[in-house]
């Protein structure tokens, strides 16, 4: 058969171009990750605190709307987050015995002034796990129970699958391993799942006592002389194994990324031992420790998305005084993480912080009183538990703007998912998420609500 020279060159050229382009084609079919119209390169998404009552947070009522003590106790106990004067009487939320000394405010300008406050939003649920799912999936998942993965794709998966972000650029830092928190880093939805999931640490375990006992004494292997043969033999064994069971849930970190994660873990063990973790100035509860390690994750990996979960406020089920203290500390944590962002050159001025509680708390107290002040505690199951705020600050976010009010609620907690998509991937990624068909009805980007 005679070779047609023109055809040969044409086909070879097409083949070569295909070979060059193929590695850059995303699973969504798009050629390159959307970057051109992104609002910022980094998002820090704080799942705020574990059920926060509007009354003690954004409404700044302190003891006025909870304990029947009269109306002389209003005031702002979240000075890094909101504008407003602190209470002047019965100060119990600070440090020292009885908590009389408020923690010094970290930020010279509150996040409310620096960004946009959605004063009255709605959570579609009054519970933690569904609330966290709403924040991460953009939809409610009423059929889910504990020990279940999210039903629909999470923001992590949208970013990795449609935005093309590598695994180590997407992080979820959990408050612990209870309440199925570690399961939230990816869904089991067909076509998404673990290969697009977020990297995860629960620092209270990974870098806590248990981590020190069982993870800190890792033997260091030479990358070429020792690790390379290990991986070569493993690959042979894997190729010889016919897996007819479930597919292994792999996050698809590359070998380099895995080495980087191990190096980070090693560094954290050293820094923890040396007492040099970037903890907030006051670090007397679990959330503040979690925030410290989240800062370290940001400093090391410079993630596109860092999600941090805090939950100490949930002590409100049985201890209102403790709740006030933990709320004050959650604000301290928020101030610290914002400060930390500004101290990382790659993230300063190029990051959006979003803080949203997964749910609120009841209007009426339960019958449990704390021992310290004989104050009633609050659960979360009524309509008041669906009242939350959301705060967004940073690059491209209008400053000193307030949206919505008690009589005019604007926004849903599910809005966080398309908002993050828009920040990191512009309208194209936002529309991918909005058009996925998985979001709760009425969900939209917070930027579209401004």
């Amino acid at each position: 058969m005679a070779i047609n020279r023109r055809n040969f060159i044409k086909k070879s050229g097409t083949l070569a171009a295909g070979a060059l382009i193929a590695p850059y084609i995303l699973p969504s079919g798009r050629l390159f990750a959307q970057t051109g119209s992104q609002i910022a390169e980094h998002v820090v998404y704080v799942l705020f605190a574990g059920g926060v009552r509007q009354q003690e947070s954004v409404l700044q009522r302190y003891l006025d709307d909870s304990q029947g003590l009269g109306s002389n106790y209003a005031g702002n106990i979240m000075p890094n987050t909101f504008d407003g004067a602190a209470p002047t009487q019965k100060i119990v939320y600070g440090t020292g015995a009885g908590g009389p000394t408020p923690i010094p405010t970290i930020l010279s300008q509150s996040l409310q002034q620096q960004g946009t406050l959605f004063k009255e939003m709605r959570s579609p649920t009054a519970s933690h796990y569904n609330g966290l799912n709403a924040l991460l999936q953009g939809s409610t998942a009423n059929t889910q129970g504990l020990k279940s993965k999210p039903m629909y794709p999470t923001i992590f998966e949208y970013l990795r699958k449609h935005g093309g972000f590598p695994a180590t650029k997407i992080w979820f830092v959990g408050n612990g391993i209870g309440n199925s928190v570690p399961l939230l880093n990816y869904s089991e939805y067909n076509g998404y799942g673990s290969k697009y999931g977020a990297n995860f640490f629960a620092p209270s375990i990974t870098f806590g006592d248990k981590g020190f006992d069982h993870l800190s004494n890792a033997k260091i292997y030479h990358p070429e002389d020792q690790l390379s043969p290990i991986y070569q033999m493993k690959y042979f064994l894997d190729n010889s194994f016919k897996n007819l069971g479930n597919a292994l849930p792999l996050l698809n970190n590359t070998d380099e990324e895995k080495q980087d994660i191990k190096a980070f873990m090693d560094e954290m063990m050293n820094k923890t031992s040396a007492g040099t973790i970037d903890f907030p100035p006051v670090g007397d509860n679990g959330d503040l420790h979690t925030i410290g390690y989240a800062c370290e994750v940001m400093r090391w990996f410079k993630p596109a998305l860092t999600v941090v979960n805090m939950n100490n406020v949930d002590g409100c089920h049985s201890n209102f005084t403790g709740y006030l203290r933990n709320l004050h500390r959650a604000d301290h944590a928020l101030g610290h993480i914002w400060s930390c962002i500004q101290s990382i050159p790659e993230m300063a001025g190029n990051t959006v912080l979003i803080a949203t509680p997964e749910c609120g708390r009841n209007l009426q107290h339960n019958n449990i009183m704390d021992t310290e002040n004989q104050w009633y505690a609050y659960d979360h199951s009524d309509q008041n538990s669906r009242r939350v705020f959301s705060l967004m600050a940073g690059a491209g976010v209008p400053s000193n703007l307030q949206i919505g009010s008690e009589t005019n609620p604007i926004g849903l907690t599910t809005d966080g998912v398309p908002t993050i998509a828009e920040i990191l991937g512009g309208n194209a990624l936002k529309n991918d998420v909005l058009n996925s068909g998985f979001l709760a009805p009425g969900t939209q980007s917070l930027f579209d609500r401004i």
Partner: protein
Amino acid sequence: MQILINGMRVYFKLKTILIYLLFLALPFSCKKQDDSYIVNTELILPANAFKTKQKTDQQYVAILHANLFQQALSANELYDVAQCVESIGDKEVAREVIISNFMNKSGVIMPSDSMMRADIDGFIYETYKRFLVREPTEAETTYFKNYINSDPNVTPELVYFAFALSNEYLFY
């Protein structure tokens, strides 16, 4: 006479019909025997394909410890190590760190490098039995034999590490 003639006619008619019938039956009479045989479709799978249940974090840690130290991990330690695995999103990373921590402890029972090289076949056989609870195939034995012989850096520890990290080891 008339009866005889009629009888002969009937006889000839019957004979003709019979001959026609025989001719019609000819194509269906003798048929050559089909000597071809059919084998039922059977999926041939390696022995390890029947491991379809994935170990839980606790099962993995417990079995790993038993395989390396030939001794059970205490219930408390098992609980703590499994929690450590749960606290890390990338389970491959978590397993690598756990294995390397175990390897750094004293008491791991494994042959010396010289013992391994003195009887590579035996070492490979024992390693497969210990970690994967099966015998190696000829191909697997050959691969490991060649691999160990070709690289002086390969020690029993590295081989054990690779087995403990393998996908097959995650199933039972």
